[in-house]
Amino acid sequence: MFWRHFLRWAVFNVPIPLESIILAFWSGLFMFWHSGRRGIMANLSAVLPHSWAITNFFRAYRVFWNFACTLNDNARFKDLRIVPDWEFVGDFDALQGHPGGAVMLTAHMGSYDLGAHLFTEIAGRQLVMVRAPESDPRTREFEESHRGQLREGVKVGFSTRASDLALDLLHAIDSGELVAIQGDRVTPGIATIPATMFGVRTAIPAGPFALAMAARVPIFPLFIVRRGHRRYQLVTAPAIMVVRRSRNRDADLAAAAEDWVRQLEDVIRGSWHQWFAFEPFSEELPR
């Protein structure tokens, strides 16, 4: 909670031309966050299998630096309306022009908040973002109070109320809205699909795939990648169709999940410094 207030306060006080010095300084301090640094290094050992631990130690700094820059850009957008540069890569037109509702599957990369707001601004579509709630009630309250300043095109649903939320999301898709869900990390209590990512066993959320199957809509993988100072790429990968082909529903979901994992691997391999996963993504990785 303190950090959220501090970041917002810093946005109003730190002169922009000097912000990179301060971000570099604080990213260095985050290297003392042992579990976060170890988590990044464990993930990197799977993403870049022949890398050395010492190299991954310095790579962890790059992840913290990118995370800090992303938080800063997000805060500057929310509070000062400073918009970064954008590049649209891939078949963005297919997503923008898709009639009716759809599921957008994304990962903890770049600034997904910023991407969501830009998307609604450009596409003129209603977007529902599903995310894990903040565990601290005061932090949740802070987040919600600041969300009120944003565009009305973005609504937020929390993934803890799985049964209630599923019906809400189905209704949203039926109404032609887009539902954005993060599909690279599972939170306790949600249904999962076993998968193999970067050669190690892991689990990914089952919800987006089940939702797409129930609503009979495609899944559009979408990644927000930071490409430098106030510059982001919005990468749209080919749509994934979740089709009921057999009587085995789980097998049909797993096939779609496999497609998603391959696309996720491609993007993370090329932009490992943008993957903000601070815990090992698999039980098989060292902790």
């Binding site: 031309p17 912000e19 300084f25 100072h229 510059r231």
Partner: protein
């Protein structure tokens, strides 16, 4: 909010830069630029969008102040300079804290929008004072102080040139960007 769409040379728009020296350089670069169509590109026309300028200025500011601070540290100069770099990164935050948390709230109720500009001014005044303390010495810090003042003067000259070119700049920018 204005954007340049699908034109990569839009990155040289002077309005995307902060300091006059960089704005003037961007203007000259834009005049010489050929059209670079890049579908899917959307460049925001706001100050501080230039990576080269932001990182360049930050590194220049950090290293210059580290050079001013180093002679005061009880260490051999090369080592003192290395220690001074992170020390400056830490110290430059204190004026921001002090101004933002104490001084500005006392001066005005609607202070948040002016804080960044005020803090930048305070930091530049501190740097200028430090530079002035070295400028008469024939030393490493003295040379750095001379380039510090030299660049400040050059920036002021660039600001005057930009003022004289304002109509041409405005025309160029209107031709490339559009409001969203």
């Amino acid at each position: 909010m204005r954007f340049v769409r699908n034109r990569a040379e839009g990155r040289w728009l002077p309005s995307r830069h902060h300091f006059a020296l960089f704005r003037l350089a961007a203007y000259l670069r834009l005049r010489a630029a050929k059209p670079e169509p890049q579908p899917g590109l959307m460049l925001a026309v706001t100050r501080d969008q230039s990576m080269g300028e932001n990182y360049g200025f930050a590194i220049w500011f950090l290293l210059s102040n580290a050079a001013f601070l180093a002679p005061y540290l009880p260490l051999p100069l090369p080592l003192a300079f290395v220690v001074a770099v992170p020390l400056v990164a830490l110290l430059l935050q204190f004026p921001c804290f002090l101004m933002g948390a104490v001084v500005m709230p006392l001066l005005t109720r609607n202070f948040l929008r002016n804080n960044q500009r005020m803090n930048m001014t305070v930091l530049l005044v501190i740097s200028t004072t430090l530079a002035a303390s070295h400028v008469r010495q024939l030393s490493f810090a003295g040379v750095v102080a001379w380039q510090f003042f030299g660049l400040i003067v050059l920036n002021a000259v660039a600001a005057v040139i930009l003022f004289l070119l304002r109509d041409d700049i405005e025309r160029l920018e209107q031709a490339l960007s559009s409001a969203v």
